[in-house]
Symmetry: C5
Subunit: 91 residues, 5 copies
């Protein structure tokens, strides 16, 4: 999984019908030190996240899992909200 | 999913037979600020997109889903058209 | 899918038995303007491509599809030959 | 698989319910010479790793396998602890 | 598939039990001109490769195929040994 922050959302009316009712959030990937890293992407949200929230997301086939048994055509999904990150680079 | 803009198409007569009837669009990935980012790719189109349209696309196994139960050998598919993008980087 | 050009091939006698009879072509990825971009790779060929040909290829699990029901252990396969590429960046 | 070192962990209370009880470790990818390379990520841990430990991890659909038959929505999982790395670049 | 050379191996005693008996080789990806390119990785070996050998490998879900019906949690596997590479960039 990858760290990120919710920085926005997109509106879309014409879309694959299985995407109906899914929120589409713009996510900025972050390092564990919470610095932006890499390209922003659009995640579906299985958690009810708000703007600015620190989250982690999965990509690939696993991104569909929270929506099973419906096979939603998504490849990036938020699966949790981060309370705290602990990093010790000296170890 | 990833933001992009339709910037062209390709014609192909010799192809895997399950690709027959699929439109093949050239897509330029974009940032949420709609700046080009990364390599152009070829997406199938499940939405009926036109040139210049702002879209989002999925990659990987999920790209086949709009065409199920036929197993079309594609790995990148447009699944929606973007109405609006909202980004607030201060949050 | 991604644009590319066939620039060579490889010979291999010791290989997974399900690869027997598969041609292994060296492909240079291209931009829509047909400039080289990114790393060369080895694709199986479901189309009968020749050297120098302009093609498009899929990656990931989808690369197995042209060979089903045999589960060939490949992750990159040529699925079509390009006749023409149209790109209009002003749109 | 890819080499890495466990450099931290994250706490998360709001998450997909199938992630309950999974430890979420922050991993720094390494070269075979044990130099940091590329972006840190969050792995689930099927091995009981401690901070500072040298490990290898899988990504993609395979990351779910240690948890089957439960379909846990993860895409990066530690599957082993490294005892020794031998590299001979002259060969 | 991708070209590479076997440049080492790793020893690991604590690992997912389905990895028992699998050799874990360190692979340096190569261009068709046999220059190093990109990050080294750890591949399982379905071919019995030796150090220094020129090989090609698959990544993703396909990497499990040589070990089916056992679902081994691997994402990169050597599937063949290269005899010769032919590249003609003028075509």
């Amino acid at each position: 999984m990858y760290l990120g922050r919710v920085i926005g959302n997109i509106w879309s009316t014409v879309k694959d019908e299985r995407l109906t009712g899914q929120r589409l959030l713009v996510v900025q990937p972050l390092t564990p030190e919470l610095k932006p890293t890499g390209k922003q992407l659009i995640c579906t949200d299985a958690m009810g996240c708000g703007a600015g929230e620190l989250i982690y997301w999965v990509k690939g086939k696993e991104a569909c899992m929270p929506f099973l048994p419906t096979e939603v055509p998504v490849d990036t999904t938020i699966v949790g909200i981060v309370d705290e990150v602990h990093v010790d680079r000296n170890k």
